[in-house]
């Protein structure tokens, strides 16, 4: 039963990639199949989550290779969801579209599915090193797609991404090696199970504190690079803005979340070994710096996709900060993570539609959105309001929870500073939004909504945000409580 669930989760994306690889030239039904498969994977993820909510912890594989506890299940749902969104907006799906040719559509189908596969493996693997391998593979697969449309800017973005991303991952590996450094001298065994989270976590209290501290620093900086935390964030605005919109949705929506997942796992180990003061402090420092850098950079942005990218840095910083605020903070962080995944992916896909219509990446080139594309514009506006944390959307609730956790952890000044920075971001984003929405559209931009079918999944995202904003549903609550248990005190 468990094996079936895991297979249903992981194999569809592999299958879609294989189909796209085999079928040359790329046909539309290949992308349709990919879309169907991704929805199937989403169903499997929801099934796994249901099991976890029911109290079980599905495992599978030799040495418990795959394991789905609350944290894994929640992330798996997020990843599968966003992957489905991206697959349903893939380049290969739309007929007669001049944006991407067949070769590009095929490349997209192959690598985006591999990308989804590696992310799913990363969140369900029980083994520290397998997770690392999977996250490294995410860098490689996503980097292949950034220069889908070759230009100086996209080549530059992809180079920075792969170089900085790989360096970050390498540092995370140093941290991983240091993390189980103690084991060999004492246990001396070479079985793969040694690197399982469960084993590591259980043995954590007996590990030497300085070693674990050093390991956690490397891990935080390494995976933090992938998560887009400052000061290692320089690749993010370029990569997320130059990538094709569905890929940006996946990267901003869930890749950052997967990197944060890795940090949460290691934090659990570090908490058990050295207590929570040091890890909390480090995460708060990184988070605050990221929010500051992002908020101040948002003010001077000139392109809307870069605007969204910096907003991702801001939100990731907030999540990271919240992870350092104790159990309440962990709850708030994970809730925010889910909300952000939904909101940001939706926004990037909407920006893809805007880009298609307006053919301009600059903010100055987009105006009169409500006139030219009423439905898209309305969704975009709602999404932006969600991102800045206005009710009734989910992000308001999670931001509120973060602030509450901050006060409960005894850091009122910090929360004050953060709120101030978030206010700066608020002003910047809303100002740009107004410029985009109102006024008259530029010359040569067609009026009227086309391809309404593509709006359906995005509307569902908005709906999900509303639901999460009004009250956190019971199953989600159970999962989040489970995560707080895992992440340690």
């Amino acid at each position: 039963m468990n094996g079936g669930l895991f297979a249903a989760l992981l194999l569809p994306s592999l299958g879609s990639a294989a189909v796209a690889l085999a079928v040359r030239p790329h046909r539309r039904w290949g992308s349709v199949l990919g879309g169907v498969f991704s929805v199937g994977a989403l169903a499997a993820a929801l099934g796994l989550a249901a099991h976890v909510v029911g109290g079980a912890t599905p495992v599978w594989g030799p040495g418990e290779l795959l394991r789905a506890d609350a944290l894994s299940a929640l992330l798996a749902v997020c990843v599968a969801g966003v992957a489905a969104l991206a697959a349903l907006s893939a380049p290969g799906l739309d007929r007669g579209r001049e944006s991407y040719d067949q070769r590009q559509a095929r490349l997209f189908a192959i690598f985006s599915n591999l990308f989804a596969f590696t992310m799913l493996v990363a969140v369900t693997a029980n083994n520290v090193a397998v997770m690392w391998i999977a996250i490294e593979a995410t860098t490689i697969t996503s980097a292949m797609l950034i220069p889908l449309r070759v230009s100086k800017a996209s080549v530059e973005a992809s180079w920075k991404y792969i170089l900085i991303g790989s360096v970050g991952i390498a540092l995370a590996f140093v941290g991983t090696v240091l993390g189980y450094f103690d084991f060999v001298s004492r246990v001396g065994s070479h079985e793969s199970t040694i690197l399982n989270w469960t084993v590591l976590r259980a043995a954590a209290p007996a590990m030497h504190p300085q070693v674990v501290q050093l390991a956690f620093v490397f891990v935080a900086i390494g995976y933090g690079t992938k998560a887009g935390l400052a000061p290692m964030h320089t690749w993010l605005p370029d990569a997320h803005s130059e990538a094709p919109p569905p890929l940006s949705a996946m990267m901003s929506g869930v890749l950052l979340a997967v990197a944060l997942y890795a940090i949460v796992r290691w934090k659990a180990v570090a908490n058990a070994a050295v207590g929570s003061t040091f890890p909390d402090g480090l995460l708060i420092a990184l988070g605050t710096l990221s929010i500051a850098v992002a908020a101040l950079s948002l003010v001077i942005q000139r392109q809307y996709k870069r605007l969204l990218a910096y907003s991702s840095i801001e939100h990731t910083g907030l999540i990271c900060l919240s992870l350092g605020l104790g159990p309440l903070g962990v709850f708030a962080a994970m809730l925010h993570l889910v909300n952000h995944s939904i909101a940001k992916s939706m926004m990037f896909l909407l920006s893809g539609r805007i880009l298609d219509r307006y053919r301009a990446a600059e903010l100055a080139g987009v105006s009169g959105l409500l006139t030219a594309m009423p439905a898209t514009g309305a969704c975009f506006a709602a999404g932006m309001l969600a991102l800045v944390g206005l009710p009734p959307f989910g992000l308001f609730l999670s931001k509120f929870a973060v602030v509450r956790a901050g006060f409960a952890a005894g850091r009122p000044w910090l929360m004050g500073t953060v709120l101030g920075l978030l206010a700066i971001a608020f002003v910047a984003l809303i100002t740009q939004l107004n410029r985009m929405l109102y006024g008259s559209p530029p010359e040569g931009v067609a009026i009227g909504e086309r391809r309404r079918l593509g709006l359906v999944p995005l509307g569902m995202c908005l709906g999900a945000l509303l639901v999460l904003g009004l009250a956190v549903p019971r199953p989600v609550q159970v999962l989040l409580d489970g995560i707080v248990e895992i992440a340690g005190r």
Binding site: A129, A143, A153, V167, A170, V174, V177, H208
Partner: protein, 218 residues
């Protein structure tokens, strides 16, 4: 300190570190590729050494793969890349050579400080080489930041991986074989992708001077 094993391990690690420092000294890519290749050989020898003294047969496999992959195959690919895009003038790095070397020495000192808790706590005879491995990691990070040629940055990244492998071997006698293989595969894939990108950079910008990748600044 104990015995021949410890001494040989330190000698191996010193050789690996010093060959890494060559990246800071010489400017031509041929020298870098030769140094990387020699370093991979030294690393493979060190891993085989550890395998011999600990009686762990798996480490021999790891050393053999490392030798083939990073000692032979990747340098061949790198030389091919160099021939394709290398007919360029030597690029002045962001930090000049003498300063780079001095900073490299200081980074090694920093590595000694950082790994102090590790060395005191470790019981393994190979522990004396760990600061050298960490020093190599820091030095290669510096190479990636301060060099302008994309090819040199790629070589710097490969040297970083060598440093991490050395640290893993010295500190923990390596990780289980399957995972080691996975790591190798990842590294190879990463390298191949980087190679593709250097090609694309060359095609788009007509040079592999990373300094020109400054268009996206804000």
């Amino acid at each position: 300190m104990d015995g021949t094993f410890a001494k040989l391990a330190v000698i191996g690690s010193s050789a690996v570190l010093i060959l890494g420092l060559v990246l800071l000294w010489r400017r031509r890519s041929n020298a870098h590729i030769a140094a990387f290749s020699a370093q991979s050989v030294a690393l493979a020898a060190t891993i085989a050494l550890v395998g011999h003294f600990t009686g762990d047969g798996q480490l021999y496999t790891v050393a053999a793969i490392l030798l083939l992959l990073k000692g032979v195959a990747i340098p061949v690919l790198l030389r091919r890349m160099e021939r394709q895009f290398g007919a360029q003038r030597e690029l002045e790095p962001y930090v000049n050579t003498a300063t780079s070397l001095l900073l490299g020495g200081l980074l090694v000192l920093l590595a000694y400080v950082v790994t102090r808790p590790l060395v005191t706590l470790s019981q393994l005879p190979t522990r004396a080489g760990m600061p050298l491995a960490m020093g190599l990691i820091f030095v290669s990070l510096f190479v990636i930041i301060s060099r302008k040629k994309a090819l040199t940055q790629v070589i710097g990244f490969l040297v970083l991986e060598n440093g991490i492998a050395l640290l893993a071997v010295l500190g923990t006698y390596g990780i289980p074989l399957i995972l080691e293989l996975g790591v190798f595969l990842d590294a190879l894939m990463g390298f191949l992708v980087m190679q593709i990108f250097v090609y694309q950079i060359h095609e788009t910008f007509e040079s592999i001077d990373v300094d020109q990748l400054k268009g996206l600044r804000k």
